[in-house]
């Protein structure tokens, strides 16, 4: 089943679900329970993730999507302000773009 899920294109809800799962794995369930995570949630302000946690999150995205997307490359093009304002929706859109260009 896993292989099929990985090669098929995910819709927005599925990507959002996956992102939430990764965030929970990185910061822990007890903190996620207190938060209302939405596509508009920003990583630094709303989710209070620090940069080493965003590194772990990026690693999970890379491990899941592999060569399909260059997540670190995409992040590295951002300046500090953009990184601070980064939210889930932007990542969902980026992953969608990569999926549709393949």
């Amino acid at each position: 089943m896993d292989a099929i899920v990985k090669t098929s294109k995910l819709n927005n809800d599925e990507i959002f679900g996956l992102m939430k799962q990764f965030i929970t794995e990185v910061i822990g369930e007890e903190f996620v329970e207190e938060m209302d995570i939405t596509p508009q949630s920003s990583f630094t302000k709303d989710l209070e993730m620090d940069s080493i946690e965003i590194v772990s999150f990026s690693e999970k995205i890379k491990a899941h999507f592999g060569e399909q997307i260059d997540f670190t490359g995409w992040l590295s093009a951002m300046d500090l302000d953009q990184l601070i304002n980064l939210n889930l929706e932007m990542i969902i859109n980026y992953i969608q773009e990569c999926q549709s260009s393949k």
Binding site: I27, S51, I52, G73, M78, L80, L83, I84
Partner: protein, 253 residues
């Protein structure tokens, strides 16, 4: 998340562009972690080099360790890491305390280094550097966050404050970091610094408290150039791309 065993301890590393001919190894500073390089600096260097970043002991996602924070131990750790990764010779860059580790590496194991970059390494005898180490308290962290982190534009929330507080508490009250750092206060007087023959680039913020330390090192290290950049001690966060490009062209030429 790549975690490897070095001397039987977990060390978190990140690598980019593994196939490249030459390796750049990046060392972060005290109370920081490899993310200071991960987002902007490492990807630029990875256009030409194999880039290795690692979290120092008790920092980032590396294992907590009670002792060995003096520069001999920290460079022993780095030497062992290079062994495990089969790295024979690297370009080495370090920021802040990581810059002191990089310099110590050039003094002890010159055969392992190509070129050296030291970014904002402080003089450990400087009262302000020692002051931070000697007077840590919860109030200090709150004051520090409220007053000094604005130059990096990132405000810490409650969970982050707790996380950082736990890390500072651990490092200050349970490990030997404080005593180890006080023991290093004579580091800039060590004559071996004058014997460093590597091509060395010193990058300092023009308005940084540490600029004086950069000038001192510039006098001591024969083949060194000092470049003051606009900014303060936080230049790698304020000007990551500029730093990355300067470092990259220095290592390339």
């Amino acid at each position: 998340m790549p975690v490897i065993k070095v001397n039987n301890r977990d060390v978190h590393i990140q690598e980019l562009n593994k196939g490249a001919a030459e390796t750049v190894l990046l060392v972060h500073g005290m109370f920081s972690n490899l993310s200071v390089y991960y987002f902007n600096i490492a990807p630029v260097l990875a256009e030409h080099f194999h880039v290795v970043m690692y979290d120092l002991k008790s920092h980032g996602m590396s294992e907590r360790v009670l002792d060995g924070y003096d520069l001999d131990s920290m460079t022993d750790d780095l030497y062992a890491l290079m062994d495990v990764l089969n790295l024979d010779k690297v370009h080495l860059a370090g920021y802040s305390f990581g810059g002191l580790i990089a310099l110590k590496m050039a003094m002890r194991f010159p055969q392992k280094l190509r070129k050296l970059v030291i970014i904002e390494a402080p003089d450990p005898s400087d009262a302000r550097t020692r002051g931070i180490i000697e007077e840590y308290s919860r109030e200090f962290l709150e004051h520090y966050v409220a007053n000094f982190t604005d130059t990096t534009k990132v405000k810490m929330g409650k969970r982050q404050m707790e996380r950082n507080h736990r890390m500072y508490e651990y490092l200050f009250y349970q490990t030997s970091i404080k005593q180890d750092m006080i023991r290093e206060s004579g580091f800039f007087k060590e004559t071996e610094i004058n014997a460093v023959k590597k091509d060395t680039l010193l990058l300092y913020g023009a308005s940084s408290n540490c600029l004086q330390a950069g000038k001192q090192l510039n006098k001591m290290i024969h083949r060194s150039d000092l470049i003051p950049l606009e900014g303060d001690h936080n230049i790698p966060i304020q000007e990551p791309v500029m730093i990355a490009e300067i470092v990259s062209s220095f290592f390339k030429n």
